[in-house]
């Protein structure tokens, strides 16, 4: 089985060719403003250097931080309309209420609350206000927004109100994209609504990006199916991912953590992924990324995602160092413009890459261009970046004893060999492209979300688990590697026969065919 893994980061686009259990070839190229250009360049090099037959590639997996970066950096997000169906419930806290003001200013379009939605027992809170909804749809059409998030009270139990609102919107506003909250989240109105609105503000970008991916693959002569990696380390088809970009938010760090485990063979370790813009510190437990427990914030927006527990700091290869004070590092990075703006490439700005070249930790660009950097300046800047990494690792540690630290990412030359609280700093082959490796080895999942009637809870859960496992195996998972990652049941008291809505998600490694 031959898989291509691609990681599109803010600075670099990496591509690897994984053949069964081995990394056959890896390349690193600069990300381009149009994203697709970088992929084409990476694939061109990978295919030429590895001389692989494009027809033998079974699947292409792309991981990208593009959507998270859009939210975090406040760019390429669309203005969206919000419709909440639930009055007179939840009247004081409007949609976007807990968003950071700068992001709200960019994303918040016309916002409406109308009567409707359901109680926990399935009774309507109030009859769905069709007249008001039609007026809302007309005003959204007049406002000229292309995307809307719809969230009804208790839609995870009964999504009729969201469905009806979406139908009116689609009939009134041609071409509008509607994100329905029950497709994305669970009980907890504000967190589900936030996820819905985040998704709505990214769908246009996601569609363009996915189209760019598809084109880049076609331009490279690859016909294998294209998958996009998700928050939990599994993949979904590109067309599906384009509808739900929020599912791809944490795929970058998830991939680098899983890639680090794959490359090192370690199951329990800390991992630091030093990229061009940030360093992410995470933790591997039993071979899987340790998950953040409670609410997770994305770009300051409170959500209920399941994501790896990460600490991100603004420290990477492209991070700027203040020429007047080497202890002032970041958080601004030159990003993908490293090859134009860094000193070693003839630019005018001092980056940590320049510092590392001057310290002979790295061979890149023209070393003569950093000869004028003072030795004391270089030493002080490195010492400061080491301290920043050391503090981050310490904050993420949950063991009192020393633990191994796997260093990955394009900027891992910044990780010192000795750190407090760390038993060994582990360097592995292909460490610079660990997240592309993580994408290539992404898992597959099987999901069940259905209503069971007339069964005891135990039997319903067993059935759902068996069904989900079956679907995972059909999707290509190896049966012995399956594990349940999500399991939730909600009794639906308004339906007869002990009705239970059960959601189960099972994931497993891709079965290796010989």
């Amino acid at each position: 089985m031959i898989r291509l893994g691609i990681d599109v980061g803010g600075t670099n686009t990496d591509a690897v060719l994984v053949d069964g259990n081995a990394v056959r070839h890896a390349v690193k190229t600069a990300t381009t403003a149009d994203v697709g250009g970088g992929i084409v360049a990476a694939l061109k090099r990978l295919l030429a250097e590895s001389a692989v037959d494009t027809g033998s590639i079974d699947a292409v997996m792309i991981g990208t931080t593009h959507f998270t970066n859009a939210v975090v950096q406040r760019c390429s997000v669309a203005r969206v309309a919000a419709v909440r169906v639930g009055l007179p419930a939840a009247a004081t806290l409007e949609p976007f209420v807990d968003w950071p003001p700068d992001l709200r200013a960019m994303v918040k379009g016309p916002t409406f609350m109308i009567r409707g939605g359901h109680e926990v027992d399935g009774m309507p809170i109030a009859p769905f206000d069709r007249t008001a909804m039609k007026e809302v749809a007309r005003r959204i059409a007049d406002a000229g927004v292309g995307s809307v998030g719809v969230c009804a009270v208790f839609s995870p139990l009964n999504f009729a109100a969201e469905q009806e609102a979406a139908e009116i919107l689609e009939a009134t506003v041609p071409g509008i994209s509607v994100t329905r909250s029950h497709e994305l989240g669970r009980i907890g109105l504000l967190a589900r609504e936030n996820v819905t609105l985040l998704n709505a503000c990214l769908v246009a970008l996601a569609r363009r990006t996915a189209e760019g991916f598809v084109r880049a693959l076609a331009d490279s002569g690859i016909r294998a199916p294209l998958y996009i990696t998700q928050n939990d380390g599994t993949v979904s088809l590109a067309s599906q991912a384009a509808r739900f970009p929020v599912h791809c938010f944490a795929s970058g760090p998830t991939n680098s953590l899983r890639g680090a485990a794959f490359l090192s063979g370690l199951k329990d370790a800390m991992v630091v992924d030093v990229g061009g813009t940030t360093s992410d510190v995470g933790c591997l437990r039993h071979g899987f990324p340790r998950e953040a427990n409670n609410t997770v914030e994305v770009g300051g927006v409170r959500t209920a995602f399941r994501m790896p527990d990460l600490l991100s700091i603004g420290l990477g290869g492209g991070t700027l160092v203040d020429p007047a004070d080497p202890r002032r590092i970041g958080p601004v990075s030159v990003g993908y413009q490293l090859t134009e703006r860094a000193l070693v490439f003839g630019g005018q700005e001092t980056t940590l890459t320049d510092v590392a070249v001057a310290a002979r930790l790295l061979e890149l660009g023209d070393r003569d261009r950093v000869a004028r950097l003072d030795k004391a300046f270089v030493t002080a800047a490195l010492a400061r970046s080491h301290t920043m990494l050391e503090e981050s690792v310490d904050r993420m540690k949950t063991d009192a004893g020393d633990v191994p630290l796997i260093a990955v990412g394009g900027g891992c030359f910044l990780v010192p060999d000795k750190m407090a609280g760390v038993s060994t700093v582990v360097h592995v082959p292909h460490q610079g492209v660990a997240n592309a490796v993580g994408a290539a080895i992404a898992q597959v999942s099987g999901e069940v979300d259905q209503i069971f009637q007339g069964l005891s809870r135990e039997v319903a859960l067993d059935k759902a688990r068996a069904l989900a496992s079956d679907r995972a195996v059909k999707a290509g998972a190896a049966a012995p590697t399956l594990s349940v990652v999500e399991q939730e049941d909600i009794p639906l008291s308004y339906l007869p026969g002990n009705s239970l809505r059960v959601r189960v998600r099972v994931v497993g490694d891709i079965a290796r065919t010989t």
Partner: protein, 365 residues
């Protein structure tokens, strides 16, 4: 000696919410929504004074407010301040008298925050005490019930502003039964203004200074987080609690029945508890915990489940499969552990054929 009234800041409320959520023992609802609403009121220049119950005049009329119902319902419908404020004005209209201040029905969870929203809207101070010292699912599980104070009148309001006044009830358990029916009809959530109290009653029959206590617990958590220390260990030490179990959620069974959220959480042990199991039943709040099928802790001892890393309390409506959590016990107020108190809030009051034996040694109490 009584404390002077003090102006409650948003920072105070943020700390209070953390502590109240821990004292909620899984129930009382997540305080986040009320905090968001409080930020809006405070941004408009409103605020609330906290007053010492011991400084109340004997005849000062005090409103007792809180939300009743299933926490799961409130996660979707939320608890708007204007609805809770309406229960108070309704009671004033019924009595033909004005309240001097508002007190907390239960300090635990979101219910601890509700009086502050009502106070900000109506311009009334909040008294530093409550009727549970924690959170409990029923009206007859309060210090006022334990002290045999009258259970009526009650006002109840829902999100549609449907209103009911219960003008009389034979006792607290009748009031609980009647109001529960209405609460369920309202969609398993209702705002209530319970039987009004006077200062004289509050001074002798409530849990004193529990707002300050929750604030102190919140500050302990915040200080530990800032210092990258373990917030759970910090709370256990400062509140003389016990650390019971460290594990991962293996199963959550939840049912919304009769206006309550009932169910069971099963944990599998991690680290020092590897190979062991812990099971906790709940009726809105955690009620009984079994370690390896042996009863380990029961109400009225406080059974708190906290996020192992952040130290944040985990509610019965939010706890989920795979979560890493720590079970902690905190001591209950003495009045709840008296023989009369145990009749109202001991394991038998929750339907368990168990005698209460505190997990805390006598000397530590």
């Amino acid at each position: 000696m009584t404390a002077a009234p003090r102006r409650i800041t948003l920072d105070d409320l943020e700390s209070f919410a953390i502590g109240a959520w821990i004292l909620g023992t899984g129930g009382g609802g997540e305080p986040y929504h009320s905090l968001l609403e409080a930020r809006q009121h405070w941004a408009e220049g409103k605020s609330v004074d906290l007053i010492d119950p011991l400084a109340l005049g004997d005849d000062d009329l005090i409103a007792c407010v809180g939300q009743m119902g299933a926490p799961l319902a409130m996660q979707e419908k939320m608890c708007d301040g204007p609805v809770i404020a309406r229960t108070i004005t309704m009671m004033e209209e019924y009595l033909g008298k004005k309240f001097k201040a508002i007190m907390l029905w239960e300090v635990g969870g979101n219910n601890g925050l509700q009086p502050f929203l009502a106070g900000a809207i109506l311009g009334l101070p909040v008294v530093d005490c409550d009727a549970m010292g924690r959170a409990f699912p029923q009206a007859d599980m309060t210090t006022f019930a334990i002290c045999d104070l009258p259970a009526y009148p009650w006002t109840m309001v829902d999100i549609r502003k449907n209103t009911v006044i219960f003008s009389q009830a034979e006792d607290w358990s009748w009031m609980e039964r009647m109001t529960r029916k209405v609460c369920t009809t309202f969609g398993s959530a209702a705002a209530t203004c319970k039987a009004p109290r006077v200062g004289r009653e509050v001074k002798v029959a409530s849990c004193l200074h529990t707002v300050s206590k929750a604030m102190r617990i919140g500050r302990t958590v915040q200080a530990a987080r800032t210092a990258h220390a373990d917030p759970i260990a910090a709370v256990v030490e400062s509140e003389h609690g016990l650390l019971l179990f460290h594990g991962k959620v293996k199963d959550v069974m939840r049912r919304t029945t009769d206006g309550w959220l009932r169910g069971t959480v099963v944990l599998e042990g991690l680290d020092e508890n590897r190979g062991e199991s812990f099971r906790v039943d709940f009726q809105n709040e955690f009620s009984v915990g079994w370690q390896n099928d042996q009863v380990r802790v029961t109400v009225p001892d406080l059974i708190c489940i906290m996020d192992t890393v952040s130290g944040e309390a985990v509610g019965t409506e939010t706890i989920r499969y795979g979560q890493r959590v720590t079970v902690v016990a905190l001591p209950a107020p003495a009045i709840l552990m008296s023989p009369k108190g145990l009749k109202h809030v001991g394991p038998r009051a929750f339907g368990y054929d168990l005698d209460f034996k505190s997990i805390f040694p006598e000397a530590a109490r």
